[in-house]
């Protein structure tokens, strides 16, 4: 069929052994439920990244950390920002990803990108996208894992509004950055 030949597939799922998304979602839902059951809180990532980032800034510029309110909350004075369950959760997320990658032979130094940009361009946009994401995540007090997934499961109004806005923002921007991916 003409449409399929010329364009490299957007997603590589005919080669990779990814599990069915509905199965993946069910498993993720069970993990999310057990997080709430065992700890009273949901999943998360951006909060832990925040703590790790503050930890490093604190190593080099402890005085500065004490003076910026947002950082001092976590690492002011003698507080150790890494001393929190969610940091361990992030370590676990990293290990879990690595183990699954190892098992499925998907550990590979590579850059995933669309066919019409260079690797270096992809790296630039990955950094920019990451920075925007990081900034937005603190603005919204959570990211897709912490706010959308977790807050969504417990029916928080703010989380649902947030979640719809992520999709709206992404879809609205998609046409403008289509060169990155297509």
């Amino acid at each position: 069929m003409p449409g399929k030949i010329t364009e490299e597939k957007m997603s590589n799922n005919n080669k990779e052994s990814y599990i069915n998304p509905y199965l993946g979602g069910t498993l993720l839902g069970i993990v999310l439920f057990s997080a709430y059951f065992l700890t009273g809180g949901g999943l998360g990532a951006s909060g832990a990244i925040n703590r790790i980032q503050v930890f490093f800034v604190d190593l080099f510029a402890g005085g500065h950390v004490d003076q910026v309110g947002y950082f001092a909350k976590l690492a002011g004075g003698e507080s150790n920002p890494l001393d929190a369950g969610i940091v361990l959760m992030l370590v676990g997320t990293f290990l879990g990803g690595m183990l699954s990658g190892l098992y499925n032979k998907r550990l590979k130094f590579e850059t995933r990108k669309g066919p019409n940009i260079s690797t270096k361009q992809r790296w630039l946009f990955a950094f920019i996208g990451g920075a925007v994401m990081g900034y937005g995540a603190r603005f919204a007090r959570g990211c897709t894992s912490g706010q959308a997934l977790s807050g969504g499961a417990v029916l928080s109004v703010g989380s649902w509004a947030f979640m719809f806005c992520i999709f709206i923002g992404g879809y609205a921007m998609a046409w403008f950055v289509r060169k990155l991916w297509r």
Binding site: I49, T93, G96, G101, A126, G130, M133, F139, S150, A174
Partner: protein
């Protein structure tokens, strides 16, 4: 009853191990679903590969149904779960920003960690970018602190927004998700596989999908028809220790002690008076608040109560103790801390801190008098304008010494454990 404070009950080592294991499951499932690959993630926004939507909403719906089913069965106290507080406009703006970041960078923070773990270079760079973005936020947030803290609606859940029961909301969300999945599958066929619209079958051919959907709907219906625990249910499930505390009168405090608490500059006091309006207007303690059993069943009232500072003592009182005790159970069941009953009620208070005879006298206890009758006859309704509403420490202590009354001090301030969630 779940949830548990794992770190508090089993110590940091085991507690943090639990967090690690949860993370392990999280990371593994994300990777297995293909979320280490930015191209797959980005494809969502071109309708070619709806994996992101399918995984996210399936996860939300599965977790939600499990949470509320367990809650309906009394195995999980939803009141003690962390619910992300709603800051509506920062959440909306933050979400839009993140949508942009998602499609530009190809990841979200969680998936970038998985990409990082599987050596994807763009994932590593993205994660560094996230750390940088978070740093910039920290440095600049003071500029727009006002906005960042605006439209705060506290713990606000969808059933409250739409004025429906929790169970009905769960069912509606399940139905919405199933509809979205149906259209997601069709969109993938049309945009992804470039199938002509007419050729896409109307009914999902897959039996497994239909069966799974039916299971979800069944669970949602179960939640709907079971209902969530009432304050009465919560007290009934609360456990022996609490019931013993009540039976042993560990939480009944003498008027002398309440006087001390009311006048202690280091403490806040919330006085909940569950008597009739008439009695309340005749006489009540200084700054006491009149409540009804209806209030105790109202989530807005309970939220307000729980928003009080940590060093707040809550004392509930009626004329004698019967109603106060009922109120105590319902409040305690919903997790109110530092909660006490005024021993002997207002009748006892006025016995200890007697008002002038020209204002009130103690009536005779007649035969047909109800359990909660007000034993004092007032010449006029004084509310809290007379000295007896709060005699003050000096006068009060003098009165107590004079009458030789001794009492046991029972108030112990329990610190509220702050609920926290994954992204705090």
């Amino acid at each position: 009853m779940a949830p548990f404070d794992i770190v508090a009950s089993l110590g940091k080592f085991i507690g943090y191990m639990v967090f690690l294991l949860i993370g392990l499951g999280f990371g593994a499932v994300l990777e297995m679903s293909g979320f280490g690959d930015s191209r797959k993630l980005a494809a969502q926004f071109y309708f070619k590969d709806m994996t992101v939507l399918k995984v996210m909403f399936t996860a939300i719906v599965v977790a939600m149904v499990l949470i509320f089913a367990f809650s309906a069965l009394g195995f999980l106290d939803f009141g003690r779960l962390y619910v992300n507080p709603t800051y509506l406009f920062p959440g909306i703006i933050g979400g839009l920003i993140m949508g942009v970041g998602f499609i530009v960078g190809g990841f979200c923070p969680g998936t970038s960690i998985v990409a990082l773990a599987t050596f994807k270079i763009d994932g590593i760079i993205f994660a560094v970018g996230v750390a940088f973005g978070v740093f910039v936020f920290g440095e600049t947030v003071s500029i727009f602190q006002g906005f960042h803290n605006s439209s705060y609606m506290d713990r606000f859940i969808l059933p409250e927004l739409f004025g429906v029961s929790t169970g009905l909301m769960v069912l509606l969300v399940v139905i919405m998700a199933l509809v979205m999945f149906y259209w997601a599958d069709r969109a993938e066929k049309f945009f992804g596989e470039k199938m002509p619209w007419k050729e896409i079958k109307i009914l999902p051919a897959n039996f497994k999908k239909i069966a799974a959907s039916a299971v979800l709907v069944f669970f949602a219906l179960f939640v709907l028809f079971s209902g969530q625990p009432t304050p009465e249910d919560k007290w009934n499930r609360i456990g022996e220790k609490e019931v013993k505390k009540l039976e042993n009168r560990d939480i009944h405090i003498h008027p002398g002690e309440l006087l001390e608490v009311m006048n202690d500059p280091m403490l806040y006091t919330t006085l909940l008076d569950i008597r009739s309006e008439t009695d309340f207007n005749l006489f009540h303690l200084e700054n006491a608040r009149r409540i009804t059993f209806e209030n105790i069943h109202d989530s807005d009232f309970m939220k307000e109560l729980s928003a009080a500072p940590d060093n707040t003592v809550v004392a509930v009182m009626s004329n004698n103790e019967t109603d106060a005790q009922e109120a105590y159970k319902l409040l305690r069941g919903q997790g109110v801390l530092n909660l006490y009953i005024l021993s002997g009620g207002i009748n006892n208070w006025l016995g200890v801190f007697a008002p002038d005879a020209s204002i009130a006298v103690k009536g005779e206890q007649g035969a047909g008098v109800s359990e909660e009758s007000f034993q004092y006859i007032f010449s006029r309704a004084v509310g809290s304008t007379i000295g007896a509403s709060n005699p003050g420490l000096e006068k009060g202590r003098e009165l107590l010494e004079h009458s030789g009354i001794k009492f046991e001090k029972k108030v112990k301030i329990q610190k509220k454990k702050a609920l926290s969630g994954g992204c705090a």
